[in-house]
Symmetry: C3
Subunit: 309 residues, 3 copies
């Protein structure tokens, strides 16, 4: 049979390929009329026999890879819009696309095959590697950006850090002199804000992915291959190891150290260091098992309270 397209489990039909990789969707799997379903033997144990099952060790990864074969990224069509403003001192690599209204300031260096979106603003001296995508209406200053970095729309990179000291005349701003260093293959979601370092740099490690509306304060150092979900906030100078996963709307206080591989549940408020590999949750965040126990204890307490005890 010819497979013409990919589709989600709930809607895939004849001629389409889909994936079954999460036991919660077993009902949808059993009802599916897809011609081919990528899955594994564990998930389909005890299910009635059917044709078109493709067993692999990592179904979700296989589905992602096949998806990119069905829908390869369109090659970038190089073009510099007549309404883009590129300073004569800026260097733009070959094969770039610079959209309407983009501003490329003095001293900027852009590598090969980059796509700079409409009205994006690259401030003086910003350096961008090869094969990057910069979203529309995004503002970047004081930044050194690697290769294959993707930044969505309405993002601010390189804003002044939030450091003040009380002075007789009111709040006095601490100097903010550093940069934002973004390593290769980083992805940054829409409407994020990433501050430049005060002295020293703010650093986002290679391969780290950041969802929308995330706040990264000055001098934060994020490791490699971290995952930061939507609306996370990381306060100043906190260091986060490689492969850390941070659930949506979590906050991490300033000057903390989060070890490699740590996992932080969504909406946590982390006020202490987290050791490598540990999982925490809650506000204030505690080890994940303890958080679950606290929630159970609180539920029991309430039932007692309801009995008049």
């Amino acid at each position: 049979m010819m497979i013409n397209d990919i589709a989600p489990l709930e809607s895939a039909g004849r001629g389409e390929l889909t994936v079954f990789c999460d036991g919660r969707y077993r009902d949808k799997f059993l009802a599916s009329e897809a011609s081919a379903i990528i899955t594994n033997r564990d998930l389909t144990r005890n299910a009635p026999h059917r044709d078109g099952l493709l067993f692999v060790e990592q179904p979700r990864l296989a589905y992602a890879l096949i998806g990119h074969l069905f829908y390869p990224t369109s090659p970038l069509v190089p073009e510099v819009s007549a309404s883009a403003l590129i300073d004569p001192s800026a260097v733009v690599g070959e094969g770039c696309r610079i959209d309407a209204g983009a501003i490329v300031s003095n001293g900027v260096k852009i590598g090969a095959r980059c796509h700079v979106g409409c009205h994006a603003v690259l401030g003086p001296g910003v350096v961008i590697g090869d094969d990057c995508i910069i979203g529309a209406n995004t503002t970047i200053s004081h930044a050194l950006i690697g290769d294959r970095v993707r930044v969505e729309s309405c993002v601010t990179i390189g804003s002044q850090g939030f450091g003040f000291v009380a002075a007789p005349s009111g709040l006095l701003r601490m100097l903010q002199l550093g940069r934002v260093v973004i390593e290769d293959k980083v992805e940054i979601g829409a409407n994020c804000a990433i501050d430049r370092g005060a002295t020293g740099d703010t650093v986002i490690g290679a391969g780290t992915v950041i969802d929308n509306l995330v706040q990264i304060a000055h001098n934060v150092r994020l490791g490699r291959n971290c995952i930061l979900c939507g609306q996370v906030g990381i306060a100043g100078s906190t260091e986060i190891g490689d492969g850390v996963m941070i659930g949506g709307q979590s906050a991490i206080s300033d000057h903390l150290t989060i070890g490699a591989g740590a996992r932080i549940a969504g909406k946590s408020g982390v006020m202490r260091d987290v050791a490598a590999g540990d999982s925490v949750g809650g506000y204030p965040a505690v080890p994940l098992r303890q958080w679950h126990k606290q929630n159970s204890a609180l539920a029991r307490l309430t039932r007692r309270g309801a009995d008049g005890a």
Copy 2:
């Protein structure tokens, strides 16, 4: 007496009309020198007699309606700015105003009497209905938008969803192929981010209103006439019924179902399905009465703790 204007309860004076619709502001009502006050009989029971009271069943609604009579929306003055960039293949309806620097890409269709703000960017193929307002510096792509939709400034609609899978080479992006479908009369606040669907669409139901800095992830389906307050975050593929109210800074986990008419207290962290009509609060969110009991129980516990127990 002639009524010349409307004004808030605390400042309305002679010749002005105001509203008294919340018993918490009884003191302000008693001191008011407004010439006319919209209210109801319940709220003013036992209050000293005074002139100028207008009794209606729904004072706040009446005040809103009268306000729009005093301050009717100015009719849109059609004009396409010379500095807007409109692709020859785009279709712009009659009576539109397209402000300076707006970008209307190839294949875009805009209905009648729309107002597209300065530097707004409409990506290829975006479709917008009649009587819409698109704010300045807003970026829209991969979107199908109904009639009478209002989008504020610095909003991103149609960004890539946050889906990744671990691969030997690092995190591999899942395909993001879907759209954002925004039905009629939706309002979207400033600096929001709404991701396109992965496969399938992200959908915002008719009449739903969304405050500032809200995150809507890929494949979320919001019902009709929902109210999402500031800084709310909805994770991927969660379905939300009609008329759901979500308080500020609440987070809802991915792949959940929130029934019609549910109410979610501000700052809740919702980690399970919520049945239609239920009210929940807390982190993790529990039924609202239970949350209040938990808070009381915790307070009692603390008092005992303080006694050395």
Copy 3:
């Protein structure tokens, strides 16, 4: 010895000046090879004698002041970009810099020595004082702004407030007629959203500083010299006194009064008034000591629970 530069405690070396103002970094102080270290006698008590210590009462303030001597703000080079669009009815003060793509609408007044960034949009009638900085891609309308105000990039000021009333036809918007009044020396971080008042104004008091991604709803009144950390949200009509400190990701409900000098811990959910000078934390927020007790009590409870009690 000649001091050539300032540097952070961990990296300052010969010829450099740094600061030691927090006992948590004593190890770094002891290892430092900086030629000069600003500190005080308390912090260095019992430390081995070394040269180059400069004792002052407020080391962090002294370091900030010295930093500004090493790195004075570059004087603004006045220039109006040829691609900025300035309405003939707008007034731009002397010595201003208006960057490429900035839009200055009809009736706008800008004071002396202001810097308006690329693609910033100033709506009709906006008034800005002297020595202000407006970031790139920022949108301002319905606003009256004082002197020496700094607004970062991708900020929205003057958006419609979030006020709706249920009507037979769906949700009806309440009139939003007011302004945003921003007093002198206010700083507003990247990607913030500040709504205009409904009737009456939204007010940000002089000297107040606001971090990134903060939401200020309609008719909020912030006092002078307040500090609002990242991702804070303040709901409609809440009044906040002078010198209030609000930690990151905190939310404050609508129509509350927060007294002068109050301190609100990070990630708090404030649902009641807070008296002047009080410190609160938690969700729902309680006095700070009580919050700490609650957390301890919960931990004890969990231990008992683990023992089977």
